[in-house]
Assembly symmetry: C2
Homo-oligomer: 388 residues x 2
C-alpha cells in the first residue's frame, strides 16, 4: 500500500479528495498496488465537519504523518505560507514526495526546496501552483530542458482579468467592479495582492525561473498593478481597438533577463487578447519551437485538484525526473527596457514626446523604454503600454 | 553501455547523429551510463559517403542489429513505408525500444505497433511524426489521459502553407508557386501528397486517435486539398479580411467523431491565421483546460532530429508510460456536418442559398453543413469554408 496524506481540507483539499476517490480504482488497476489517502491534516481535528472523509483519519499534528513510514506522499493544500513551508520542508526531509499548489511558498523558497527534494531523491511537483487549469509546468520543464526558451508572456491573474473585462463590457467603474467581485468571492476582502499585481509577479517568478534555468526573484521583476486604471481609460483604448490586460513578461537575451508585470493595451491579433473573464493564458517562445501557448481557468476547486492529481499519477508511475528542474545559469537581471508607445493620462503635463494628443489630459507617446517611462512618470499618472 | 542503432542516414538521420554527438556527454553524465550509436543501417553499406560516422558501423542487414543484445534502442529515420514498418515491427518483437518519425507507417499501423510495444514492455515513441518542430505528441498523450479532449484544429502541412502564403503575398498563380516550391525543394516532384491534403490527413489520423482515445482512420476523414484554389480566390478573400489555409479539424461529441481536412478562409482573430510560411500550428480544446496550442516549423533536419532526441532522453530516463497511449473507446464516425458560410466559385450555378453574390461566378452561401455542401457541389467548383 502506498499511503498519501492530504494537508488542508478546504476548497482545494476537498476537490483533491473528490477526484482521488473517482480515479482511485483506475490508478490502482494500472499501478498494480493499493493507494489511499490515510490522513487529512487540519488545524483543529475536533471541529465538527459535515464532509465525507472517506475513511481518512483527521489529525492536527504533522508528526503523526511524518513518522508513519507507510505515508510516501504529502499533498499540501493548506494555502498558508508559514505552515505550508514547514510541512513541505519536513516531508521532503523525511523522504516523502510532495505535491503542492502553494505558489507563495514556492516563490519564496523554490531553490531551497528543489535542492532538498533532489538531495532526498524524492519528487517535488507543483503543476497547480501557476494556472491550475492549464497543464503548463510539466511541458515547460520539458521545453526548457531540451532547448532554449527565449521569452514568455502571460495573463496570470484571473481576478485582474475579471475586473478589466467587466469594466470594459458593462462599463462599470473600477470601485464598483471591485465591490461586486468581492461579494461574489472572486476577490479577497483586501484585493491588493491581486489587483496590485503581486500574485501575478509571484507566478512570473516561478515560470521565468523554470523557463530560463536560472534564478529570477520577485524583486527582479518591475511591477505596476491595475489600481490606477479607470473606466474611461478602458473605453478610450477599446475605441482605438485595444483591450487592457495586466501582462506578465520576461525575456532573455544572452544571459541578460528583463522581466515586468504591467498593464498593456492589446490589439485584436494578440493571443492574450482572447483570454477573457477569469481565465489565464501564457505563451512561451523558444529556439526549437516557435510558440507554445496555454489557455485555461486560473484557479478554482477542480482545475487545481485536477492538476494535483496529474502530479500524483506522475509520482506513482515515476514519470518525472527527480533532479531539480532549476538550472544553474548565472543570469544578469537588467531593467525592463523594451520600447512601446504608451497611453498616458496625467493631471500634469509630461515630458514625453507625444505622438497624439487625445484630450487635455490624455496622450499617446512615441515609443519609449519602459524603465525610462517609469522613472519620469508624474505622480498619479496612468501609463498603459500599447501592444503591436 | 546502452547501444543505439540508427536506421537511415539521410537528412534526418544525419541530423540525429549530429545532435546526439553534441548532447551525448551531458546525457551520459546525468544517466551515469555510457551510451552510443553503434550501427547505422543503410541500403548499401559499400557506397562511398563523405559524412562522418562517429565510429558507428555501417550495416545493410537489420539482422546484425536485431541480434546484438547490447542494442536496446532503434531510431528509425528511413522515411520508407515498407522498410520502416518491417524495422519497427522486428525491433519491437526483439524487445528493443523504437523511436520513429515515420508518420506514414504510424498512420497505417498505429494500433498494431502500439499493442506490440505494450506487449513487449518497450517504448514506441514518435514525437517527430507530426509537427517535428512542435513538442506536441507528449503533452497530447498527457492531456488525453487526464481529461477529455473535445476537439482539435491544425495547419499540418508546411508545404501547403508555403504555397498559400506565397500566392497571397506575391500574387503569383498556383502553378508558378508550385513550380518554384519544387525547385526550392519544398515540394516533391509529385506534390499531390502535400497539396492534395493526404499528408495532412495522415497527421490528423494520428492526432485524433491520440486525442479521442479511440481509432480514427484515414478513411474516416473527409478530404479536400488546395489544388483547385486559384490566385483570384485568395485575393478576393483577402480583401474580405480572410487568409486561406488548409485546415485539419476533428471533434468529438458524446462518442461521435467528425473529422475533415479542407480549405478555410480564416479571420484575423483566428490563432491559425498567424501560422505563416512553412510553419505548422495545432490547437487542442478540452474539459480540464480551455486551449493548448503549438506553433513551430513542420519538419526539417534539426526540428525533426531534436524531437527524436527528446524521445531518446525519455527512453533512457524511463520518463514515459510503456502502456499504449491509445484508448479503447468505441467511437462512431459520422460525416463532418458543421455548418459554415462558404465561398463558392463555380462555372455553373449552384443550388445553395446565397447570402451575397460577388460576381457572376462567385457566391457566398448562407450557412450550410459541410457534408451537404460536398454532395451538392457542381463538378469543378471551388468551395472554401469561411471561419468565424
Amino acid at each position: 500500500m502506498i499511503g498519501i496524506a492530504l494537508a488542508g481540507y478546504g476548497t482545494v483539499g476537498q476537490g483533491v479528495m473528490d477526484l482521488f476517490q473517482k480515479r482511485k480504482e483506475s490508478i490502482q488497476k494500472r499501478l498494480g498496488k493499493k493507494i489511499d489517502i490515510c490522513y487529512i491534516l487540519v488545524r483543529d481535528s475536533r471541529k465538527k465537519r459535515d464532509i465525507d472523509l472517506y475513511g481518512a483519519e483527521l489529525v492536527c499534528d504533522i508528526k503523526k504523518i511524518l513518522d508513519d513510514d507507510d505515508i510516501k506522499i504529502l499533498i499540501e493544500a493548506t494555502g498558508d505560507i508559514t505552515l505550508g513551508y514547514k510541512l513541505i520542508k519536513e516531508a521532503l526531509t523525511k523522504k516523502k514526495h510532495v505535491i503542492t499548489a502553494n505558489k507563495a511558498v514556492l516563490s519564496l523558497h523554490l531553490e531551497e526546496l528543489s535542492a532538498l527534494a533532489e538531495e532526498q531523491d524524492v519528487y517535488l511537483l507543483y503543476e497547480a501552483s501557476v494556472g491550475g487549469g492549464m497543464p503548463l509546468i510539466k511541458p515547460l520543464q520539458d521545453l526548457s530542458l531540451h532547448g532554449e526558451i527565449r521569452s514568455l508572456r502571460g495573463l496570470l491573474s484571473g481576478s485582474c482579468n475579471y475586473v478589466l473585462s467587466k469594466m470594459r463590457i458593462e462599463q462599470i467603474p473600477y470601485d464598483d467592479v471591485l465591490e461586486e467581485a468581492k461579494n461574489l468571492g472572486f476577490l479577497e476582502a483586501d484585493p491588493i495582492d491581486d489587483v496590485g499585481g503581486f500574485d501575478t509577479r509571484r507566478k512570473l517568478r516561478i515560470l521565468a525561473t523554470l523557463a530560463f534555468r536560472g534564478k529570477i526573484e520577485e524583486d527582479d521583476i518591475s511591477l505596476e498593478g491595475i489600481t490606477k486604471i479607470e473606466q474611461e481609460d478602458i473605453s478610450r483604448l477599446f475605441q482605438m481597438g485595444y483591450a487592457v490586460r495586466l501582462v506578465a513578461q520576461a525575456f532573455k537575451e544572452n544571459q541578460c533577463v528583463q522581466a515586468t508585470v504591467h498593464p498593456m493595451a492589446l490589439p485584436i491579433t494578440d493571443f492574450l487578447r482572447s483570454i477573457d473573464k477569469a481565465e489565464n493564458g501564457v505563451e512561451f517562445f523558444g529556439d526549437h519551437f516557435i510558440k507554445v501557448c496555454f489557455q485555461g481557468s486560473g484557479a478554482g476547486r477542480y482545475p487545481t485538484a485536477h492538476a494535483m492529481l496529474s502530479d500524483l499519477e506522475d509520482v506513482l508511475f515515476s514519470l518525472r525526473r527527480k533532479t531539480s528542474p532549476l538550472g544553474s545559469k548565472e543570469l544578469h537581471i537588467i531593467p525592463y527596457q523594451k520600447k512601446a508607445r504608451y497611453y498616458v493620462r496625467s493631471a500634469v503635463p509630461t515630458l514625453f514626446a507625444i505622438e497624439e494628443q487625445i484630450d487635455e489630459k490624455v496622450w499617446i507617446t512615441t515609443p519609449v523604454a519602459h524603465n525610462v517611462l517609469k522613472e519620469n512618470l508624474p505622480e498619479g499618472a496612468v501609463a498603459i503600454a500599447i501592444g503591436e
